[in-house]
């Protein structure tokens, strides 16, 4: 409610501000940036089917890479996108080296997740969350990746984050896009679901 509050404070804009201050010589802001973006980047990498330990290594490498390329990022507002693209690419590179297979499957839009992908029942906190989870698990892997990462961003950032994930324009934001639409329609058709 204060007059000085920026019109639109989003994850991407807060990241941009910290990155700007870091590049202006305030080294401590980089640690703040790391903390701010840890959740969205963690889920970006984990959605690539890399194990937890590997995900940590991947993000180490991603941040070191940012430091080395900091000068080459012309627009600080692009730093969140830059990190998502780099983290995904590094996860892909590492899993290729380690498993000799490409874990991604971008083609099959309608493949249903194997049940083993679901988290422990204990992690699902109540009946309504468990219904929600059940519906998410019926989405394609690509849609689940998109929603998983988007969930940790703010509304005005959705389109930019989707682009960083390699999704076509219009996948999400400002319109709902097919992944979210599919989820909404599944929920609407589920008589047990009260929104």
């Amino acid at each position: 409610m204060t007059m000085t509050e920026p019109a639109e404070s989003t994850l991407a804009s807060r990241a941009a501000a910290l990155f700007d201050e870091y590049r202006a010589g305030d080294q401590a802001r980089l640690a703040d940036l790391v903390a701010l973006l840890a959740p969205i980047l963690w889920h970006t990498v984990r959605a690539q089917n890399v194990d937890r330990g590997t995900a940590e290594d991947v993000l180490q490498t991603t941040w070191l890479s940012l430091i080395r390329h900091a000068g080459g990022i012309h627009d600080p507002r692009a730093v969140l996108q830059w990190l998502i693209v780099s983290a995904r690419r590094e996860a892909w590179r590492v899993s290729k080296v380690e498993r000799r297979v490409d874990p991604r499957d971008f083609e099959a839009d309608d493949i249903v997740a194997p049940l083993t992908d679901l988290p422990d029942v204990a992690a699902v906190r109540n009946a309504s969350d468990s219904q929600l989870w059940e519906h998410v698990s019926r989405l394609s892997e690509r849609c689940r990746e998109l929603l998983r990462v988007i969930a940790f961003a703010d509304r005005p950032d959705y389109a930019a984050v989707a682009t960083a994930l390699g999704m076509p324009v219009g996948s999400i934001g400002p319109t709902r896009g097919r992944c979210l639409a599919k989820l909404r329609m599944q929920l609407a058709a589920d008589s047990r679901w009260e929104s």
Partner: protein, 164 residues
């Protein structure tokens, strides 16, 4: 067009509303609970970026022994290889008890390589022998990061931080 049936394309073309945002926020909660970040994750990342990496080459990390990406997987020994354009370094970390470890390393080409091991609250240094071997006999457990210098003119090689 004959019916008023709402198609998926119609729903997809609508603007994102507060219901969508609420749904996504609930999903974030479920995902965070299902796959939480490791407890020391942010601290490890922050430790790894305090070094000035600007003028350095970052080595790629590869874990051996089938323990790919495994940390604290119930074993007392971990072997990790770091690869950079200048050199390949293999290190073995063995527990010596009381939360301390011994680090044995071998680098190629490594004769005379200056090896710094950054740990939380300090840093240890040694020089590799003629065969490129080096050792840190007693290192506190926790995060560790190597800085390798082949000579005064060579670009230093730094590694991602690891759990010792």
């Amino acid at each position: 067009m004959a019916e008023n049936r709402i198609t998926m394309d119609d729903v997809a073309a609508e603007a994102i509303d507060d219901g969508d945002v609420e749904l996504l926020s609930r999903l974030a909660g479920v995902w965070a609970a299902a796959d939480p970040m490791p407890a020391d994750f942010v601290e490890r990342l922050q430790f790894g970026i305090t070094l000035d990496a600007l003028q350095a080459e970052v080595a790629e990390l590869q874990r051996e022994d089938g323990l790919i990406g495994a940390r604290g997987a119930g074993t007392d020994v971990q072997t990790i290889t770091f690869t950079s354009s200048q050199l390949t370094t293999m290190i073995t970390v063995s527990s010596i008890g009381s939360g301390r470890v011994r680090v044995d390393g071998w680098a190629a080409p490594g004769a005379g390589l200056r090896v710094e091991l950054r740990v939380q609250g300090g840093s240890l240094e040694t020089v590799a022998d003629q065969d490129g071997r080096f050792v840190f006999e007693d290192v506190p457990g926790g995060f560790g990061q190597f800085v390798l210098r082949a000579g005064d003119d060579a670009t230093p090689v730094i590694t991602p931080s690891i759990d010792l």
